[in-house]
């Protein structure tokens, strides 16, 4: 189905099932431990052996020798595959560094061997017996040191944010120089780890030259194509299966070493092999969100209107890696005639930087939205008022191009009212609650809505059960449920008459889970397949498909009616289709918006920050399931608390690796860190986005949260921290005198 004109009325608008806050259909499986994750598939292949991955102990250089004699002789060992016996594997285009093979090391903990043994304990013990000799070479590990000479590089996160090396509109320097009120500040964000709860894991089994991998992947089609490329196999010989994924956040968008080494280990062992990356390997062996250094300049008139805005960001990556597109939202969020964005990319020898939840906007807004808070203060304007004053209903770089739907102002005003923003003392450091300094902060949230094609197959059986098959994944987002809701709505069924099968490369190719594009696109693909199934049903029953109404398990046309299952007959009916998009995304800017409001308390003696209240008001098109969508937003807000207050992959600048590579050293929020969180979805349908009239929301919930917290800390203490995370050491020596 080609979607090239805004959607008119369609069966989804009935909202009998879609739009309802239904419990997730996979809930009973997940809460009883019966949903099978990648490493747990004892059922799929007999006689599985255990693979243990060894990571390089240097960041850059060469492996000169590997002595595997002791390991090979260890009890239970079946096979050892080392990087020295394996020619460098082809690098799929989505990977910045090769995943395995050859002597050269590009980053710390790059995989150099897999030991396959009868048991997990034997594989792990034998791996410790491998003696590796290296020729270590100096590397570049310090972003700040490399930033000065970093060249301008454009980039696209492939997750909805992109920018050219440099982009200019009007005369930024002239207008900034002439502006009566100016801000010129630099902000930094650290490297961050996805730290999903399930480490990367795969089981690989060969049948002749056919390879099946049960894995944990957000993007089945990408993983299948890239595994085929990496191993030099025709894609049709590779099958990926990933029905349940224990978190991804971008860390499982791409093929990683677990799948490759399970496949190589299985080939060497002559039997199926299961591999999970150990937790300490995850941070350095896989990808992370790259650190940024961001300079923001804003010039405004005394009336508070922005006349000049510049956002420049520098990040680092491996030679074939991309920049963190942190400037992207600054192209679209606020008005202003004279504009500049620029990205610089320093070549570093740290592990590969790549997409993490809201790549670009998440760190970009952490900087921009502090800058807006600082600018509001310089102007003597309320921060909410300052943002509303600079709202735009058109793409500021291309004024002929409107936003399809933009309710940023409503998000901010509704949020301010709900949160009690008028009670905020604009003078920082003035509000006390016993030993606590209390403050409020806010920020705008922004994230683009991405359109990407997505297909599905729907089957109808004689019992009137509809089964949806698509390679879409559910990484905790609620895909199973909203897909079932979509099919139920389209076919006139209650949700318990719909089965959903996901995450198998034998199914039609979907949008996958990334860039908050999953919900809208995958359900639009299911919508398209259901439109086709409705036509097939009408035809089978001899009804005019234009008149046929589907409700309560019946099909009605004129004075005729039949149970839906009757159309299926013995053989059943199958329909397959997908959604493809025309140029609506070119004609309209499609984005999602939020207002984030936070209250924090900072211990006046210790500088410890506690988040007391959080509110997000979101405008993101039709909300397909308010219960699971709200969960997406509160989860993102939680990740925002981590980004603001604790998350920081610490770089060892001498040896070139992330030091705190486990969940004790890399701190993420726990129960005690998170207060009750409130989410409001504005009533919105966006017919420009898809037949579902929905948009994404899973990343929007993160965008802006970090800055809202930073601004609240400033309001509480009067201390402006521009280097994340805002840990107590950055506050301690500047806290107000104790009364």
């Amino acid at each position: 189905m080609k979607f090239d004109t805004p959607a008119g009325a369609n069966p989804i608008d009935q909202l009998k099932v879609v739009g309802q806050p239904l419990d997730r259909i996979d809930g009973p499986l997940k809460t009883t431990g019966t949903a099978p994750y990648a490493y747990e598939r004892h059922d799929v292949a007999p006689n599985q052996a255990y693979g243990h991955v060894v990571g390089a102990g240097i960041a850059r250089g060469r492996v000169t020798a590997m002595d595997i004699a002791a390991a090979r002789a260890a009890a239970g060992v079946i096979a050892i595959v080392t990087t020295l016996d394996t020619p460098r594997l082809a690098k799929a285009k989505r990977n910045a560094a090769p995943l395995f093979g050859g002597a050269e090391i590009q980053h710390y903990h790059q995989a150099i061997a897999v030991v396959v043994a009868e048991s997990f304990e034997q594989a792990r013990a034998a791996a410790q017996l491998i003696r590796v000799s290296y020729a270590r070479e100096p590397g570049r590990f310090d972003l700040a040191a490399a930033a000065g000479s970093a060249p301008l590089v454009g980039g696209d996160s492939e997750e909805g944010s992109g920018a050219p090396p440099e982009d200019r509109r009007g005369d930024f320097e002239g207008a900034f120089g002439a502006a009566p009120v100016r801000l010129d500040q630099t902000y930094t964000t650290p490297d961050e780890s996805h730290a999903m709860m399930e480490p990367h894991a795969s089981i690989a089994a060969w049948e002749g030259d056919r390879l099946t991998v049960w894995t944990s992947s957000q993007m089945i089609a990408w993983g299948k194509a890239d595994l085929a490329t990496t191993l030099g196999l025709p894609p049709e010989k590779v099958r990926l299966v990933s029905p349940y994924i224990g978190g991804g956040f971008g860390g499982k968008l791409f093929l990683r070493a677990d799948a490759v080494l399970a496949a190589l280990g299985a080939r060497a062992a002559g039997r199926p092999v299961k591999v999970a990356l150990t937790r300490p390997l995850v941070a350095n062996n896989t990808t992370h969100r790259p650190a940024t250094i961001q300079r923001i300049r804003i010039g405004a008139g005394r009336d508070g209107r922005i006349t000049a805005i510049a956002h420049e960001s520098t990040s680092g990556n491996l030679k074939d890696g991309k920049p963190e597109t942190a400037v992207q939202q600054s192209k679209l969020l606020y008005a202003g005639a004279n504009r500049l964005t620029a990205m610089r990319l320093a070549e570093l020898d740290l592990p590969e930087g790549n997409a993490m939840r809201a790549p670009g906007e998440a760190p970009g807004l952490m900087a921009l939205e502090i800058a807006m808070d600082e600018m509001a203060e310089k102007l003597g304007l309320d921060p909410v008022r300052f943002r509303i004053l600079n709202d735009t209903q058109v793409d500021p770089e291309h004024p002929e191009r409107p936003f399809s739907h933009r309710q940023l102002v409503e998000c901010l005003s509704r949020g301010a009212e709900r949160f009690g923003w008028s009670g905020r003392n604009p003078k920082p450091g003035e509000r006390r609650d016993g030993r606590w300094l209390v403050g409020m902060g806010m920020a705008a949230g922004f994230r683009n809505n991405l359109l990407t094609k997505s297909a599905a197959r729907v089957r109808l059986d004689r019992e009137g059960i509809v089964t949806v098959e698509t390679d879409m994944t559910d990484i905790g987002t609620g895909s199973y449920t909203i897909i079932a809701q979509t099919a139920a709505e389209m076919m006139g069924l209650p949700i318990d008459k719909v089965r959903v099968r996901l995450g198998d490369s034998d199914f039609p190719v979907s949008a996958g889970s990334g860039g908050q594009w999953g919900a809208n696109n995958s359900t639009a693909g299911v919508y398209a397949a259901c439109v086709k199934l409705r036509e097939a049903v009408a035809q089978r029953l001899g009804f005019n498909s234009a008149d046929a109404a589907f409700a309560e398990g019946m099909v009605r046309a004129g004075n005729r009616s039949a149970p839906l299952g009757q159309a299926a007959g013995e053989a059943g009916l199958v329909a397959e289709d997908g959604i493809e998009y025309g140029d609506l995304a070119k004609r309209y800017q499609q984005s999602t918006f939020a207002g984030h409001f936070v209250e924090v308390a900072v211990d006046a003696a210790t500088g410890e920050t506690r988040v007391r209240r959080m509110l997000a008001v979101c405008a993101a098109g039709r909300i397909l399931n308010p219960k699971s969508a709200r969960s997406q937003v509160i989860g993102a807000m939680t990740m925002g608390v981590g980004a603001a207050l604790m998350e920081d992959l610490v770089v060892d600048k001498r040896l070139g690796f992330f030091v705190n590579h486990d969940l004790a050293g890399y701190e993420v929020p726990v129960h005690a860190d998170i207060p009750h969180q409130e989410v409001i979805f504005l009533d919105e349908v966006d017919p420009v986005s898809s037949p579902m009239k929905a948009k994404g929301v899973g990343e929007l919930g993160l965008c802006g949260v970090g800055a809202a917290i930073a601004n609240a800390v400033y309001n509480a203490t009067g201390i402006r921290v521009r280097d994340y995370p805002i840990t107590l050491d950055k506050l301690l020596d500047r806290l107000p005198e104790m009364a």
Binding site: R24, T31, G33, Y37, H42, M196, P199, I245, H676
Partner: protein
């Protein structure tokens, strides 16, 4: 598994072996040029030391012949195929492997299986099934107290045992009055559940689910 000629070992020697393997696992496999080629750790070249173990899991008697290095977590997941208990970090940092051992919650990755001769373990599979959910499982579904589902079994096992700890009057770091009965306040629940990480960030909903069950029990 290779057959064993060592039917049982003492608890002490099993623990010493595990400590050595845990220490080795944390070292990167770098050999300095001048270092003498290290001798293989004792036993690594030979058949593993195994032990027989009898314990009760979800009410069922189980007898296992295990490598003494096997954690309770791996005994459940790899030997009994009870994969509801999750491995998130394998060294006591995340809580995904939480099970209930003789009524108390433990990280099953931090305890060796052979230390549990005769013990009774309840895993997530023992609390309820998809068609007959435990009240805590049903509350997690109702309040959407999970997203990816990977930390969920651990959160639920921890929740069930944690409410019993409060009932038993065991104080926590945030209990203000150590002489009064502990209360099931939001602050108490958050504090006591902080050993179970949920990276999806369902904390606010998990709290609602636990609170509902606690209020029903009260």
């Amino acid at each position: 598994m290779p057959a064993s000629d060592t039917p049982s070992v003492t608890r002490r020697s099993a623990m010493a072996g595990a400590a050595a393997s845990a220490a080795a696992a944390s070292l990167p496999p770098v050999a300095l040029a001048q270092a003498p080629s290290a001798a293989a750790p004792a036993g690594a070249l030979e058949a593993p030391v195994t032990a027989t173990l009898s314990l009760t899991v979800n009410g069922e008697a189980q007898s296992l012949e295990l490598d003494t290095r096997t954690t309770l977590l791996d005994a459940l997941r790899e030997h009994l195929h009870l994969t509801g208990t999750k491995k998130g970090c394998d060294h006591g940092q995340c809580g995904a492997c939480t099970v209930i051992l003789d009524g108390k919650r433990v990280y099953s990755c931090l305890t060796l299986a052979v230390m549990h001769e005769g013990d009774a373990v309840t895993t997530i599979e023992g609390l309820g099934r998809p068609d007959s959910l435990h009240p805590m499982q049903a509350a997690f579904v109702k309040h959407d107290g999970y997203q990816c589902g990977y930390c969920t079994p651990g959160q639920i096992c921890a929740s069930v045992a944690m409410l019993e700890e409060i009932k038993a009057g065991i104080p926590s770091h945030v209990t203000a009055d150590l002489t009064a009965a502990a209360q099931t306040t939001a602050e108490e629940i958050r504090e006591r559940m902080s050993g179970n990480i949920c990276r999806c960030g369902a904390y606010s909903n998990i709290l609602d689910a636990i609170t509902e069950v606690a209020e029903r029990q009260a």
